[in-house]
Amino acid sequence: VQTEQPDDTLMRRFREGDAPAFEVLLKRHQRAVFSFIVRMVGDRTRAEDLLQETFLRVIRGAAEWEQKAKFTTWLYTIARNICVDAMRRESFRKADSLDRVAPSDGDPDGAPVGDAMAGAAVGADRAAYNARVRPALEQALQRLPAEQREVFVLREYSGAPFKEIAEMTGVPENTVKSRMRYALEGLRKALEAMGITGDMADDDEVAAAAVRTVGG
């Protein structure tokens, strides 16, 4: 029954001293927030600390929480601010070049991801594809400026509308959309540089490419 309760109700209950309500909230949102943080800072270990800090702020700020906005907006605002602070404080490890990613994944020839994708063997399955392409996509994402990355991650993966992203980031909605546009452009260029195209990324296209490769 508790899991069906809206976030605001759970938060209100927690504010009144109901610890299980917070547990529900945590289980409901921690993974999504954790994903956002991981993609923001690009470091899972660091993201664990930041996730903890985020929810600690929720715990401590519960007394001041008011139902003026959605709980998720408040939660992601906290997470985003913590990430920004963390990124300012520390110099995070920059993503290695794509040319160095492939060897780390076990490909000794060090071919670009795109080449590897295009030359995927007949028996290449989905898991192999994911194993090769996802790190490249993650790195392409990490190369984006932080303000574009946060907008893209929040919209694309967290599903936050532009209006809410504007609230979270404290900038006008049009600015958010501009950053989203720049993010999409930047990603497209980065993916093209890696030889990854939208056609290849599509499951059907990948399958077709695999068939062509086998038939060729």
Partner: protein
């Protein structure tokens, strides 16, 4: 589509791409995109990128359980704390969410702050003792000014050579030293004389007093000169004492300080006033009075504790301990204020003086302060046991140890507010000290008439015989209106009358006090406090203003 007709911005295309447009707007964009190669290319580019990036899962693997566990533990702690919020939390919550939410707006915050300032100023101005705000509290000269010529009234003359006693006086407005004070029932007073007789005697005394008051001071210049002399005298003593204290002899001073600074009075509630702040003045006043004529060589000059922040507390050689311990009950101080005042060990000055009542405060006699301990490190044994009275050097003054009164002072009469710790300063010859000596000798002439009466009044008061105490205070005043503590005698009378509920009589005496000693700020303030408190008591509990029968008092005290 030409540039002129291209009306769809890229931001709008994003809205369309992410499905954030209403259906009609989305349909319009969709139609437009079909005919606009530029928008089509742009939109296709976005879609292509999204297709690729969607290969990343929306969520990564869950964080480790230790993170979750730690957060849950923290949440449980916070929830447990919130489940039992403190009073402040509850008030805050109420202000935040309740009907008074508007109080937290900046406008009301500013208005509230202004109201506090104005209200606070009003309270300070209305409750501060008269003269307190206009003259320094450390200027006791007016009380010592012998510029007035009172009518020669001699009531109950004291025996020659009567011992000068240290007579601590409880705080004005405070009940007798022992027993429980029930605001609703008045003090546990057992009038020594019938009320009618007392009133008659008061009437006579009032007439004499008024006659004395009508004889105004001789000249203004004389009064000013006297005040200046006393002021300079006091300043010299204060500086000398301060120097001694800083030089390591502070222990003497602290030891001779008659009042434990922990004494405090808190009377609020129905009285509508917390004496804790300005109320410390009341305690100070009582301490000053209670310090008694300690030093045999002390000159006159009513050194007041009123400004104990500025000057060392007057010594109380005779005052071994004095503490007013007020237990302020919850919500309403008027309902139950337990007062225990330790009667200081002192020589019995007169037959009427009851033996001191041991109380819990006795064990707190002159707790060593910082300067006591510090100074003791540097004091030689000779100095510690020398001419100055150190703590514990006065067993003879204890009634139990030496019931007989000590011999009268050889040189000068003691003054209530003079500290023995000043003696060292006085030993150094100076013009100021000589002047003080002269004044003290002059006052000595009135002391034999004043001191015994005053001591008896104090004793009667401690014994709860407020009627008798009031009469004796009056007689002491009339016998020696120039005495330094004559204003205090009047104030004591006012306090007793007020405590008895005889507010009209108290007002009358208060008028005399104000007219006769307009600059006796401490005395006037103390009397005012007593009157205010008892008036408030009378307002809240009309019965409380009347003296209760002893039997009922006894019942209530139990």
């Amino acid at each position: 589509m030409s540039a002129q007709t291209h009306i769809v911005s890229e931001e709008r295309l994003l809205d369309f791409l992410y499905g954030e447009l209403p259906a009609t707007a989305a349909a319009e964009i969709s139609e437009h995109v079909k005919t606009c190669p530029q928008c089509t290319a742009t939109l296709e580019g976005y879609r292509s990128t999204r297709r690729v990036m969607r290969q990343l899962p929306p969520e990564v693997d869950a964080p480790p359980a230790r993170v979750t566990d730690a957060l849950l533990a923290e949440a449980r702690k916070a929830a447990a704390a919130r489940a039992q919020p403190g009073l402040l939390d509850r008030v805050y919550e109420w202000l935040r969410g309740g009907p008074a939410r508007f109080l937290l707006t900046p406008t009301f915050a500013v208005a509230g702050a202004l109201a506090l300032v104005v209200g606070g100023s009003y309270l300070v101005l209305s409750y501060a003792p008269r003269g307190e705000l206009t003259r320094p509290a450390a200027t006791p000269a007016p009380e010592a000014a012998p510029a007035f010529a009172p009518a020669p009234v001699a009531l109950a003359p004291a025996p020659a050579g009567a011992p000068v006693t240290a007579v601590p006086m409880p705080a004005l407005g405070s009940p007798p030293e022992t027993g429980t004070y029930k605001p609703g029932a008045g003090f546990a007073a057992e009038p020594a004389m019938p009320a009618a007789e007392e009133r008659e005697r008061f009437a006579v005394l009032n007439k004499r007093m008024k006659a004395a008051v009508r004889e105004e001071p001789a000249t203004l210049d004389e009064a000013k000169e006297s005040a200046a002399r006393a002021r300079s005298e006091l300043e010299g003593k204060r500086k000398a004492a301060e120097m001694r204290r800083l030089a390591g002899g502070g222990g003497d001073m602290a030891a001779s300080t008659g009042l434990d600074s922990s004494a405090g009075v808190g009377v609020g509630g129905a009285v509508g006033r917390d004496i804790g702040g300005s109320g410390s003045l009341g305690v100070a006043s009582s301490a000053s009075r209670g310090s008694g004529p300690a030093s045999p060589s002390a000159p006159s000059g009513a050194i007041s504790l009123h400004a104990f922040a500025e000057q060392p507390k007057p010594a109380a050689e005779g005052l071994e301990s004095s503490k007013l311990n007020v237990d302020l009950r919850e919500k309403d101080a008027e309902k139950s204020v337990d007062v225990v005042l330790a009667a200081p060990p002192r020589p019995a000055p007169a037959a009427a003086a009851p033996p001191p009542v041991p109380t819990e405060v006795a064990s707190e006699e002159k707790k060593p302060g910082f300067f006591d301990s510090f100074g003791a490190l540097f004091r030689s044994p000779e100095r510690q046991s020398g001419g100055q009275v150190a703590r514990g050097d006065r067993p003879a003054e204890s009634p139990s140890a030496s019931p007989a009164p000590p011999p009268p002072p050889p040189a000068a009469p003691a003054d209530a507010s003079e500290s023995t710790s000043y003696a060292a300063a006085k030993q150094a010859p100076s013009a100021k000290n000589e002047a003080a000596s002269t004044r003290a000798q002059a006052e000595q002439k009135q002391a034999p008439a004043f001191e015994p009466l005053y001591a008896r009044a104090e004793a009667a008061r401690r014994a709860g015989r407020l009627e008798e105490a009031a009469r004796l205070y009056r007689e002491a005043y009339v016998a020696a209106p120039d005495h330094a503590r004559a204003p205090w005698a009047l104030a004591g009378e006012i306090e007793c009358l007020a405590a008895l509920g005889r507010l009209a009589d108290a007002d009358e005496s208060n008028a005399v006090l104000n007219a006769r000693y307009p600059k006796a700020a401490e005395s006037i303030g103390a009397a005012d406090r007593a009157l205010r408190m008892n008036r408030a008591k009378a307002r809240v509990m009309p019965d409380a203003a009347q003296p209760a029968a002893p039997a009922s008092i006894e019942e209530q005290s139990h």
